[in-house]
Symmetry: D2
Subunit: 254 residues, 4 copies
C-alpha cells in the first residue's frame, strides 16, 4: 500500500502541484478542495493518467467536522496519512480597517488558523501513535509582518506561524515533523492570483514576469522544496524556510 | 476636561496600575473588567482618594457589542479617549493538543486577537478624525515564539502581534500610535498569576523572587514604561518594546 | 557627586541631545567625539550655561586603548559611570560589493561592533562590582535586515545587536542593563545626515519632512526614550525598542 | 567539464559530507581546510574511490589573499565554481566577557564574517558574469540570538547573517543565490564537536543521543538539504532555513 499524501487546498497552484509531485514519487495523493468537482476530477484524472494514484474530496474547511471527517475517511478508505499539506490561504485582498468586517476577520481566522488547528487535532494523535508523519504548512509573508490592508490576513497568518511552532514543540520529539513555508512572492497560480487579478491582468503579469524571467513563482518548483521537506531525515529537520523568485526582493528589503 | 485613558482589562496587575498611573498624571482613567463589581469599585475609589479621576465599567469582551458600546459610552459620557490599553490576556495554562478543545482555542482568539480588532474598529475612526491617539497593547512572549502547551495562547498572541503591525501600518501616519509591549516574564499580579498558582505557591514565589530580588515584574514599574510610550513625541514613536525582570533570562536565552 | 553619563559619539544629533537631557536631570554628562574640539567645547559650554555639569573628551574609537583610557580617566577624574551611551554609527552610504573595500568593511566592524565590545570590556567589570549600570546602544534598521549596498553597515550592526544580547545574557542578572535601540528612520542631525546629504538637500528634506510634519526624527525626542530606558526599574527592563517618525513606514512595511 | 563545488571548511563534518554529496551528483568537489594535509588527502581519495572527482587545498582563511588566491586558482585550474559553501565556524566555546580577549573577538569576526565577505568579493563578480551561481552558508543559532558566553561567536554570526541578506539583496536578481542555513543543534562531527568535548565525552554523547535516537545531527543528512538548496529553481529560492534534530528543542523553545 502506498503512503498517503493529503492535500487540503488542492487547486491549480501549489496544492495541485504538490499532489502531482508526491504521486509521481509513489504516494497516493488525496486532493481536497472546497468546490468545483469537475476541476477536482480533472486533477485526479491527470495524476492517474501519468501513472500515479490519486483520490479527490470536496471539503469546505470552515464547516463543522469537515476536516475531521475527511481525515477519518481517508485513513479508513485510503490508508495512513504520512504527509499532509495545509494549503488554504486566507487572503481577502487589501482592505482598510473600516472595510474589514468582523465576519471577514473571523473567516480569515477560520481559514488561516483554526483550520490548521483542526487538521492537527484530527491527524496528530494518529501520527503520534505511528511515531511518524509530516505536516507541511503553506504560509505567507503576512505571517512575519503586518502590512496596511492586511488586518485579517496578517493576524490569521501570524497565528498560523505561532501555532506551527507550538505544534512542533509538542510533536517533533514524537516523530511528527511540522514545516512552515513562507511563500514570499506572487505564485503563478490561475486559481488564486489569476482570479484575484482577472484574466487580462494575470496574462500580462505572466508575460512580463512569469515566462522569460521566472518572476512569478512556479508552483511545480515550489513543490520540489515541499517534497524535499517531507523527505528530510529526522536528524536534520527544517521548521521554517522561505521561498521567493530570484528577481523579487525579500520582504525585508521592500 | 481631562484626557481619557481607557483600560480594557483592569485588575490588580498591569491594567490597574496603568489606570492609577495615568490618573496621577492628569488623565481620567476608565477601568473595565469582566466581573467583580466590588473589586472594580475599590480600584476606582482608590484612584479618587488619591485625587485622581476614574470611572469603572464591567465589560465582558467576548460578548457582542460590549467593547463597541463601552467605547461609545465612554466617549459620550466621559470624553474623547486619548489613550487606550488593551490588556486582556488569553493564557489558559499549559495544555497539550489533546487537551485543547476547539472551544478553548476559539476563546483564546476571541480574547487575544478579535477583541483587539474590535477595539481598534470602534476607536480608530474617532482617533483618526481627531488626528491623534494611542493604543497600548499588552502582549506576551507567546507572540514571538510558540512553546509546547501554548497552542491557543501562542496563535492568539501571534495574531495579536501581526494585527498591531497592520494597524500601525494603516494608522501611524494619521497620528494614531500603536505600541505592542512584550511582557517577557511573570508579573507580580494577584489576580492572574496569583489565581493560576494558588495562594500558597504565589506567596512562596513572591518571597523567593519578588521582594528582595525583584524577580517578579512589578506592575507599577511596568506602568512607567506604558506611560512613557503614550507620551512619546510623534517624531519618535516605538512600535514594539520588551520588558522583563533583570534577574530573568530573555525568552531567546532560555 | 552627580552620577555620570558617558556619551561615546556626541555630536549635534542623538548623542549631544542625550548628553543635554541627562545633564538636565542631574547627571554629569561626559561627551566624547572623534574630532572638532571647538564643536565639543560648544556643546559642553551650552550644557553648563543651562546649569548642568559636563566635560568633553576627544576620542577616536578605532585607536588602540582610546576607549579604555577614556573610561579609566572618566571614572578617576569625574566619577563612577552610571549610564553609558554607545552612539557611534558605521554607515558609509550605499556601496555595491565591488565598491566596498576590505578596509571599509573592517572599519565598519571596528566602529560598529568592536568599539562596543571594548566599551563593555572596560566598563562592565566596574558596573558589575557596583551592582548597577546601564549601557544604551544606538542601533539601526541594518541590525535587523540587510539591504543592498549595506554590506559593511548591516554586518556591523547585525554583530552589534547579537553582542547586545550576549552582554545582556551575562550581565543583566548582575544589575547591568543593556538596551538596544533601533533607530528606524532619518534623524534630523546636521552632523551626520546633514553632511551625508549636503547642506542644500538637507535643508530641503528638513523643510518638506522635518518641520511641519515631524517626518525627520527629532533627536531631543529620541533622547526622551533613552532617558526613560536608563530610569526603568530593574523589575521591568527593556532589552530592545524601535523608534521611528509617525509618518514613516516601519522597515518591515517598506 | 563538471561543474565545480568549492567547500571552504571541509573536515569530517558538514563540509566533508557536502563535498562527497556534490561529487556523487556529478560535481567536481574542491575541498579546502586549514591544516592536516593527510586528512584532506584521505577525504579526496575517498571521493575518488567512489567514482567522484575531487581536489584538495590547504587554506588558512585568515591569511591575506588566501581565499582570493584559492578562488582564482580553482577557477583557472579546475573550472568555474558553480556552488560554493562557506563552512567555517567561529565557535570558541563559552567564555565570559572577562575571558574574551580582543584577539579572540577579532578572530571570531575574521572567521565568521570577514572570510565570507572576502569569498563573496572574489567569487561574485565571476558568478554575476556567468549569470548564475550559489553560495551556501553554514550558520548557527548564534546568528539569531546571543547567549551568555557567546560574545565573539554571536556577534560574528549576527554579522554573517546580515551580510547574507545584503549579498542576497544585491545579487539574487543577477542569478546568484545566497542561502543562509541555521544549524540549530549539535552535529555529529568528530573534527569539531569531537575535539571540543574530548574523545570520551563525544563517544558517550554519540551513544546516548546519536545512534539510536538520531539526537545528534548527522552531517550526511544535513548535506541532503544543502544539495537541495543548490538545485532549487530560480523561481523558488530559499534565503534561509533552519535545521535541527527532531528530538531537540528549537532555540526559541529552550
Amino acid at each position: 500500500m502506498k503512503p498517503v499524501c493529503l492535500v487540503v487546498g488542492a487547486g491549480a497552484g501549489i496544492g495541485g502541484h504538490v499532489a502531482r509531485r508526491f504521486a509521481r514519487e509513489g504516494y497516493h495523493a488525496v486532493l481536497c478542495r472546497r468546490s468545483d468537482q469537475a476541476g477536482l476530477d480533472a486533477l485526479v484524472a491527470q495524476i492517474k493518467e501519468s501513472g500515479g494514484q490519486a483520490s479527490g474530496f470536496l471539503l469546505n474547511a470552515v464547516e463543522p467536522d469537515a476536516i475531521e471527517d475527511t481525515v477519518g475517511r481517508v485513513e479508513a478508505e485510503v490508508g495512513p496519512i504520512e504527509v499532509a499539506l495545509y494549503n488554504l490561504g486566507a487572503q481577502i485582498g487589501d482592505r482598510s480597517l473600516a472595510n474589514t468586517s468582523y465576519k471577514a476577520f473571523e473567516l480569515g481566522w477560520r481559514m488561516g488558523t483554526l483550520g490548521l488547528f483542526r487538521l492537527a487535532s484530527a491527524l496528530f494523535p494518529r501520527m503520534e501513535e505511528r511515531g511518524r508523519g509530516t505536516l507541511l504548512v503553506t504560509s505567507a509573508t503576512s505571517a512575519v509582518r503586518g502590512n496596511a490592508g492586511q488586518h485579517s490576513h496578517a493576524s490569521a497568518m501570524g497565528g498560523r506561524r505561532m501555532l506551527c511552532q507550538s505544534l512542533n514543540a509538542e510533536f517533533a520529539a514524537k516523530g511528527v515533523h511540522v514545516a512552515h513555508v513562507i511563500i514570499d512572492g506572487a505564485v503563478d497560480a490561475p486559481d488564486t492570483l489569476g482570479k484575484m487579478l482577472g484574466p487580462e491582468a494575470f496574462a500580462k503579469l505572466r508575460e512580463t514576469r512569469g515566462m522569460e524571467h521566472d518572476g512569478l513563482m512556479l508552483p511545480e518548483k515550489i513543490a520540489d522544496s515541499y517534497y524535499h521537506l517531507a523527505q528530510q531525515h529526522r536528524s536534520a529537520w527544517t521548521h521554517e524556510m522561505d521561498l521567493r523568485a530570484f528577481s523579487d526582493l525579500a520582504w525585508w528589503n521592500h
